[in-house]
């Protein structure tokens, strides 16, 4: 199929606004590891431009560079010209995918998600993992997401444990993948909308007032994406926002910890204080910020489904982040961050920290 710049057409002004000043090279973790200008945000804008003009063929080298991005949003945040970099990259991915130019791993993920409901080797329904059947009606629904269900189950157990300890009227769901990896691949809106309808109906039919997420990327799918297709009849909160409203009695610990801001929770939603407040509630805990924290936080390396394009690169970025933490245990609030950072050191979620220190 011939490449058509259908969505790139809508970001031409953004591409023209980029003055190519290269400020984004400093703030891009991918570029800092690879050091090829073509692996920087500026490089990706130029590749998107080349695709738009038809000057370059979308061969494997172009695809790889376009997908070598964790979508951490830091370069967009720091861009002196406020260029919507992520819109450009998503448009490029979308047009490539539509035209059939696909990296093998993304294609495999898409097929698995569309046929099996999740990208991993896990059997649905996922609530079975935790031995708790969905209730017909509940105040609160816990949308756990694929990563928790199939790769970071300890984190899910902690969240469920906290919900039960606090006496929350909650239910698990017969959920399907939120679709974030499909967006990262560049899949069409129609396919995403089908997933959105299925998940939203599954929640709405249970009379749920509040949906809580452990995974910030799932929350983005709901809040930013599903809401484009339909009205969402419930409130959506990340678990750190939710648990902050509850008092809990916690044991003393002398653990030395720091906090890694997940890009999708911090930079995207500005949720910086809530997880820190929860950590500070643990008596005696020894907390210290990393050099790059809050708005300036580095990426964990797993965002944007980038590891499907370049696994080693994702692991290297994670290692750089963990080196910053030194000997401290890294606390975070995202299963994808936890999963990737844990390759290079000791990591747990805010929910795990709270749950293990609960006075039960």
């Amino acid at each position: 199929m011939a490449f058509k710049p259908n969505r790139l057409n809508s970001v031409v002004d953004e591409m023209n606004t980029c003055t190519a000043c290269a400020t984004c090279l400093v703030t891009c973790d991918v570029f800092q590891v690879l050091q090829w200008d073509s692996s920087s945000p500026r490089g990706r804008v130029q590749l998107a431009y080349g695709l738009y003009t038809g000057e370059i063929e979308p061969d494997n080298s172009v695809l790889t560079r376009i997908y070598q991005c964790t979508k951490c949003g830091r370069s967009e945040q720091e861009c002196p010209s406020s260029v919507k970099l992520l819109d450009i990259f998503e448009a490029a991915r979308h047009d490539l995918f539509e035209a059939g130019y696909r990296l093998e791993n993304y294609e495999r993920f898409r097929n698995k998600i569309l046929t099996e409901g999740n990208p991993y080797d896990g059997e649905e329904p996922r609530w079975k993992v935790f031995g708790r059947e969905p209730k017909e009606r509940a105040e609160v629904a816990y949308f756990m997401g694929c990563k928790i269900a199939f790769q970071e189950q300890e984190m899910g157990r902690a969240t469920i444990g906290l919900l039960e300890h606090l006496g929350v009227d909650y239910t698990l769901l017969d959920e399907t993948c939120c679709g974030a990896p499909l967006v990262n691949a560049g899949v069409s809106d129609e396919e995403i909308e089908k997933i959105a309808r299925r998940n939203v109906e599954e929640i709405a039919k249970r009379g749920v007032k509040t949906v809580i997420f452990s995974c910030p990327s799932c929350m983005i799918s709901f809040k930013d994406l599903y809401s484009q297709f339909m009205d969402l009849p419930f409130e959506m909160r990340h678990e750190v926002e939710f648990f902050r409203d509850y008092g809990m009695e916690l044991k003393e610990t002398d653990e030395k910890v720091t906090y890694h801001d997940p890009c999708h929770l911090g930079r995207h939603y500005g949720i910086y204080d809530e997880p820190r407040e929860l950590i500070a509630r643990v008596p005696g805990i020894d907390f210290e910020e990393m050099e790059n924290s809050r708005e300036k936080a580095l990426c964990c390396g797993a965002g944007g489904s980038m590891k499907l394009a370049d696994k080693d690169l994702g692991v290297k970025i994670g290692r750089i982040r963990m080196e910053e933490a030194g000997e401290r245990t890294v606390i975070t609030a995202c299963p994808n961050c936890k999963n990737n950072l844990a390759i290079s050191g000791r990591v747990k979620s805010v929910s795990e920290l709270l749950y293990e220190n609960l006075k039960k």
């Binding site: 090829w36 490089g43 370059i56």
Partner: protein
């Protein structure tokens, strides 16, 4: 290819579509695809690459941070783009001898971070200091807002190692403060824009970091009063560490886009003073009085780091504020003229008239203390007519600059975008430049096609679509120039 891979290792060479395309761009309005990108890490590797290129007569274009605004790193004749990204070592820091030796790929701010641990620094402060490499700064004679007191890169180059176009390695200059030993060939390489050789090591003079800083901000309802203030401060004499200027277009844009707390006015001058506290206090009072006497409508002073950072951020917000204007993009055209300091008001008034005549927006700001102005041209980059008007306006801007006794480029260099105007300005120096180039680079492999070799005007190899067809694709031949 095989030979290049043997020299630097296969992982440091690329002919991929993605890499050869992206390494054809820098921060200028131009671009042209490279044939191969290579990333050496040592002088010996650079020498071997250049020998190979010279044998096969292949162009070699050195590239640092890729932040040049005139097309320095754009391989207009194709060939090899040699990136210095792997040459980032600080070889030796000698504060007692006032120098540091570095490889060319180290980034300005990274070097300064290390030097500041010893209370020293490399003073030229380019706006792109976060990304610009020292090699690129030397090849371009870059500077920044502190040039009025601390000079340009050229003033800090003590010596260098260069791979000449034959591939031979030569050492120019010294590691001593003084040097009257023969031709000052290191000075020749400074500003040569990669046309005479590739810099592989630099010995830079360093300076102690000033103890304190303060800022005076003065707003004026008349450009000439701002100009008077600038001239009077220097003539007093008070030599500030920076003296920045913004015209009404810039002021209105930052106020409208970011609600910056600046007075609505025709011109703002920001004067930075550095040194000991007592000296700063004394100079601050002098500067405040000079501004008030010249008729400033408002004068503010501060030595509070947060407040100063706020003002500096507002000045730096000019670029994003311009970018926020609908249907226009900020392009690097005629972006870097220098005029005698006292001629700034004449220049700015003339630029405003030219902007009106050609129906484009020209915003002027810059380093008023050293006469170096930056203009931002705001065009509808999809409109070929807008480009033509822009090009005509550039010609008139430089005619004004020349008539005021100014020069084509203060700190951004010539390369492509300013080549026709340099040829006009330096008519009687061209023969000497060409003779030097021929003597050192007989096969013309080093960054060919730039400076005096650039032919025609500047709307060529544009990186903007000059026209977009109904189906959204750019018109055929768009990037080859609008005509």
């Amino acid at each position: 290819m095989k030979e290049l891979e043997t020299i630097v290792g296969p992982e440091n060479v690329s002919t991929s579509a993605a890499d050869t395309y992206v390494f054809g761009f820098d921060s200028s309005i131009h671009r042209h695809k490279a044939d191969v990108v290579v990333m050496p890490s040592t002088t010996e590797e650079v020498s071997a690459i250049v020998k190979l290129a010279n044998r096969y007569k292949i162009p070699v274009v050195a590239r640092g941070g890729g932040t040049g605004l005139s097309g320095h790193a754009v391989p207009v004749k194709g060939g090899i783009v040699l990136s210095t990204r792997r040459m980032t070592r600080i070889i030796d820091v000698r504060v007692e001898d006032l120098y540091v030796r570095v490889q060319p790929g180290i980034i300005n701010d990274d070097l300064n971070k290390v030097l500041m641990e010893r209370s020293f620094y490399f003073p030229p402060t380019p706006g792109s200091g976060k990304v610009a490499t020292i090699g690129g700064m030397v090849a371009n004679n870059a500077s920044g807002m502190r040039a009025i007191k601390y000079g340009a890169t050229r003033d800090y180059v003590m010596g260098m190692e260069v791979v000449l176009p034959t591939g031979d390695i030569a050492h120019f200059g010294t590691r001593t403060i003084k040097n009257s030993t023969g031709y000052q060939l290191d000075r020749l390489i400074v500003g040569s824009e990669g046309t005479l050789g590739i810099i592989t090591e630099i010995t830079l003079r360093i300076m102690p970091v000033p103890e304190n800083k303060a800022l005076v901000l003065a707003a004026f309802d008349d450009l000439r009063k701002a100009g008077q203030t600038i001239s009077d401060v220097i003539a007093y004499p008070v030599i500030p560490s920076a003296m920045e200027f913004m015209d009404k277009t810039c002021i209105d844009a930052v106020i409208s886009a970011f609600n910056v707390n600046f007075p609505h006015s025709e011109a703002i001058v920001m004067i930075e003073l550095d040194g000991h506290k007592a000296e700063i206090a004394e100079n601050m009072a002098i500067v405040e009085k000079i501004a008030a006497d010249a008729g400033a409508i408002e004068v503010r002073s501060s030595d509070d780091p947060d407040e100063m950072a706020e003002w500096v951020a507002a000045r730096k917000a000019v670029l994003p504020a311009m970018s926020a204007m609908p249907n226009r993009a900020s392009v690097a055209l005629a972006d870097d003229m220098s005029v005698p300091i006292s001629k700034i008001p004449d220049a700015v008034v003339a630029f405003h008239e030219i902007a009106e005549k050609y129906d484009i927006i020209i915003a002027t700001y810059g380093h008023a203390g050293d006469g170096n102005l930056h203009t931002k041209f705001l065009l509808d980059v999809n409109d070929p007519e807008a480009w033509k008007r822009g090009e005509a306006a550039v010609g008139e801007v430089y005619a004004v600059v020349n008539s005021l006794g100014g020069t084509t480029s203060g700190e951004h260099g010539i390369a492509i975008t300013k080549a026709p105007y340099m040829r006009e300005e330096r008519k009687d120096a061209l023969a000497a430049m060409i003779a030097i180039k021929k003597a050192l680079d007989p096969n013309n492999i080093m960054n060919p096609g730039k400076l005096f070799e650039w032919e025609g005007l500047i709307l060529a190899d544009l990186r903007y679509p000059a026209k977009v067809e109904e189906d959204g694709r750019p018109a055929e031949g768009f990037g080859k120039g609008v005509e």
